[in-house]
Amino acid sequence: MAITVKFFASLRERMGCDETVIDSQSAGTIAEVWQQVADDEVLPANLLMAVNMEYAEPGSVVRDGDEVAFFPPVTGGGNGC
């Protein structure tokens, strides 16, 4: 009955934690997961999200046991390269 929610990079720092667990009955979509973990703050437009390590959209459905993640745009590779 639980959904694990992870945060990365600058969002992790802003949220003050890297992971939290919420009740799956309170969240049917990623947007609803966000509302719950972010105290109704508007979902930032450039935020990326994943369900079970696949990229997803705010409307994507989440299910009990899922791992949801929110993170800023990715910046891998060399710096400047």
Partner: protein, 146 residues
């Protein structure tokens, strides 16, 4: 095909030498190898950079790098492919990323290597935080491909 995340320093040319030694199954079949190495610069956007922390999303990173590698193998009929990406604390002049593609012909090798690094930079969940003399900052967007 190999995709590796490294927590410590790696030496790209040594990695290529030892990876290629294990490629005996395609020995004599590849005519072209294209390689790209991204190295940490000591400056970015006009500022001096002292060091960098590279965060990632364990498992999701490997999963997406493997997807990217498989796409390239299929699209360009690669004989082999290697991706290595560093995470954690990184110093200037350290290699950060290595991609390599082995093919029969050269155009495919170049295109595949370019695809690997471009897709890695846009899809793989890595984030860079730079240490400047004035403090730290998250890199907010990757340099465009051209």
């Amino acid at each position: 095909m190999a995709v590796e995340i490294r927590g410590g320093a790696f030496e790209p040319w040594q990695e290529l030498a030892s990876f290629q030694q294990r490629m005996s199954a395609v020995s004599g079949k590849y005519g072209a190898t294209a390689v790209f190495v991204g190295t940490m610069r000591d400056f970015n956007e006009g500022d001096a950079v002292r060091g960098m922390f590279l965060e990632h999303y364990p498992q999701m990173t490997e999963k997406h790098l493997e997807m990217i590698a498989k796409e390239a193998v299929q699209r360009w009929e690669l004989l082999d492919v290697l991706i290595i990406h560093r995470v954690g604390e990184i110093c200037p002049d350290d290699p950060i990323v290595l991609v390599a593609a082995w093919t029969a012909h050269r155009a495919a090798a170049f295109e595949a290597a370019r695809y690997l690094i471009d897709e890695l930079k846009s899809r793989a969940p890595f984030w860079k935080k730079e240490s400047l003399p004035e403090g730290e900052r998250w890199v907010t967007g990757n340099t465009p491909a051209d």
